[in-house]
Amino acid sequence: MDAVSRKTITVDVNGEQFEREVDARRLLIHFIRDDLDLTGSHIGCDTGNCGACSVLLDGTLVKSCMMLAVQADGAKIETVEGLARDGELNGLQQAFSDHHALQCGYCTPGMLMSATALLRQNKSPTEDEIRKGIQGNICRCTGYVNIVEAIRAAAQ
């Protein structure tokens, strides 16, 4: 095999198949936002610290700004756009709204994906486990107080 600077990749995003040609250097988050027009996942930093770009890749929570699109070839990706069904918010999304766990909404998609990953793996997390589960997601608006409450409520 040879190393290539451009590649056609196939990804499943929220159940839909996409085939695109991408530069090897293209970050996964830019691929999702710019090439697939799924702008729900966001970019908040340069160094992989803020988590606004968090998505599920083959069921694993990852920061898509620290992966190349080519690394996701053949993968199943879940983003915030896949959480609601036919415009109906899921329990977690509803809990976020009920508990005012979002203000500007910029960290929210990443936060929801982290919470989704947490609750899939731990149905009744303690407060500490919740905080640990969203430790990779920075929020500058809420102080995390209501986010933790919302996740706790969604778990019940």
Binding site: M1, L27, T47, V62, M66, L68, V70, G136, N137
Partner: protein
């Protein structure tokens, strides 16, 4: 935030990976990408070719040998270690992995990536030096083993040469370990970290963040005085940065050394 042009390959075997790495001076192995991709985003380093190790099954897996030795594939993620029943043969490993950054990073970041990047603030280099781990390196000519103490050569420099690959890390069984650190914020970057182990017989103390490689000390006994004497005798000359002056790092090394030793002694 935006990488330079690069070429990419995802080989299915170690041999193919070695071939790709050897074919281009500017080729680098891509493990979890939690360090390398960031470095490339900042354009602080821009390899010409990325050899993605993700599909190489033989680099993954945690095995517990009959003699209790733990063998961890280089592509083992921090989450793999935390979740692994086998890895509890050496509990300090999972405990320290669980202090690294956050879930997302732990899901992708690998042991191999952590040791091969050898950022002075990393958690695993001092830990593996203290517990006497052994690294297995494969080259086109064959395999060799290097002790952790001899593995780390400089900032971002290890015994893994160009065209070579770290394949696994071997860890003897044991429980008499301690790890003490002062991170910036919970689970944040370490300002200073110290690992201690009593399992090899004599006390081994490895101090991180104070030099380009972990500083290994063998104080002779676990007494506070012996530990202090050893740390002072090391004549540490830590770097200065926005989080700590050289003096403060030196001081933290003193304090954390004692705490790591106390932890290890308490668990032996």
């Amino acid at each position: 935030m935006l990488l330079r042009e690069v070429e990419y390959a995802r080989p299915a075997s170690v041999q193919e990976a070695l071939r790709l790495l050897g074919a281009n001076d500017g080729a680098r192995a891509l493990a979890g990408g939690q360090t390398l991709i960031n470095v490339m985003k900042a354009r602080a380093a821009s390899p010409d070719v990325l050899v993605d190790l993700a599909d190489i099954g033989e680099l993954r897996g945690i095995e517990l040998g009959s003699d209790g030795t733990l063998e961890l594939g280089a592509m083992t993620t921090y989450t793999d270690v935390i979740d692994s029943a086998e890895a509890r043969a050496r509990p300090i490993l999972g405990e320290v992995c669980n202090q690294i950054a956050d879930v997302q990073v732990r899901n992708r970041g690998t042991l191999g990536g952590n040791v091969c990047s050898n950022d002075p603030t990393n958690h695993l280099p001092p830990l593996l030096v203290a517990i006497g781990a052994t690294m297995t390196i494969i080259a086109p000519g064959g395999e060799r083993s290097v002790s952790a103490a001899e593995f780390f050569l400089g900032v971002y420099m290890t015994a893994v040469g160009p065209g070579e690959l770290l394949t696994k890390i071997s860890v003897p069984p044991g429980k008499g370990d301690g790890f003490a650190s002062v991170p910036i914020g919970k689970d944040g970057t370490c300002i200073v970290n110290v690992a201690a182990s009593l399992d090899g017989g004599a006390l081994r103390l490895a101090i991180g963040c104070v030099d380009s490689v972990p500083v290994l000390l063998e104080p002779g006994s676990t007494d506070d005085d012996a530990v202090r004497t050893a740390v002072h005798g090391a004549n540490l000359d830590p770097p200065w940065d926005v989080h700590a002056s050289a003096d403060y790092r030196r001081h933290l090394a003193d304090v954390l050394a004692l705490r790591a030793v106390a932890q290890a002694a308490g668990r032996k």
